[in-house]
Symmetry: C2
Subunit: 214 residues, 2 copies
């Protein structure tokens, strides 16, 4: 059982973008940041439900590994959407009726007390107000021997990294400079000392770095 | 003729280190940041004057390219040492009597008026108070068709990048997190739009990224 993180970041370390507008709610930067991943065969099949086409190289290998052996996920309230829709008691997340998790998802929120939300595909969102260690204990039990993913967002990932709880951190670095947003690397000086670090360049130019420990 | 930059940076973008002490004037971080480069055959031969040993892989290929076809260099006052020894009129730089430049080196300083310093190996330090464009015009003339290197430090490199004067930026990214220092990437949002970016991983784990334009 391992605790895993996968993120797409820019060369300057940003995992979020800031150029959203009402007319372009994702912004252009987000598309550029994740372009290599969303072009993969795995993303098309697993997230878009389209099994045709897509790239099959290094990016797709990491994309496929992302979905393997995950028994539970932990995410922050922002990633689930609670910051955008704090007063909507019926909010069920961004992902419609087929959220691509297929496992229990623990949503960390200070406004706990929401009832769990279950989907036919095995996804169940559970809401709790807990420190990283406590959330991880619950997720580990729910994962029943499989891995736990810390899904995001950046603040949530950084809190688990800072607490030393992550066994494998994979970042896909897109060689663009966003210049602003939330920086994954802030205040993580010396993180590498607990890990073996490996690097690989994809055909797309994305650099895949993995921090792994036994 | 191209304007070139080569820097070793950490995964979080720092090209300087901050852990210097009186007992350890370089600090430990600097050695870790440049370890793969200083291990190369090229560095040993060209900088240490020791033609034996050293690595001969990807890092060495970039190390050797660093020395090719440079006709003039531009550096900041800090890199030359003027900030450390502002009152020493006899200061001749950090490099002793064999500075590894073998060409004119234009040192940007607001306290101009220092006399040039010449060495038998072709290095000549010339001091001037000039904007990037003006310094580059002088260096380009001195280079007589060969390339001009912007040597450092980080502030000087960033001023040339921000002014759009750099044709080829090569960074060797060591996968360590320094967490503080001077960050190469600050305020360079969108830099990639003027360049083709290529990536390569060395045997050492260092990721070599090159921003190049015609």
């Amino acid at each position: 059982m391992a605790v895993r993180v996968d993120l797409n970041i820019s060369l300057d370390g940003y995992a979020t973008t800031t150029d959203q507008t009402p007319e372009n709610p994702f912004g252009e930067d987000w598309g550029r940041l994740v372009a290599a991943y969303t072009a993969t065969r795995t993303f098309r099949a697993r997230v878009l439900g389209d099994p045709s086409g897509g790239t099959t190289g290094v990016d797709d290998r990491y994309g496929a590994a992302y979905f393997e052996n995950i028994g539970a996920e932990i995410m922050g309230a922002g990633m689930f959407g609670l910051h955008n829709f704090p007063d909507d008691a019926d909010w069920r997340g961004w992902w419609g009726e087929e959220p691509p998790f297929h496992c229990p998802v623990f949503v960390l929120t200070h406004s706990a007390g929401r009832a769990p939300i279950s989907f036919d595909n095995g996804t169940e969102f559970r809401f709790l107000d807990a420190a990283p260690e406590e959330a991880l204990a619950l997720a580990t039990a729910a994962a029943a021997g499989a891995d736990v993913r810390i899904g995001g967002g950046v603040d949530t990932v950084r809190s688990f990294l800072a607490a030393g709880l992550v066994d494998r951190l994979h970042v896909g670095i897109t060689p663009i400079l966003l210049g602003r947003g939330k920086n994954l690397w802030a205040d993580l000086r010396g993180l590498e000392s607990d890990y073996a670090v490996t690097s690989e360049v994809a055909e797309s130019g994305v650099v895949h770095l993995t921090f792994a420990r036994d």
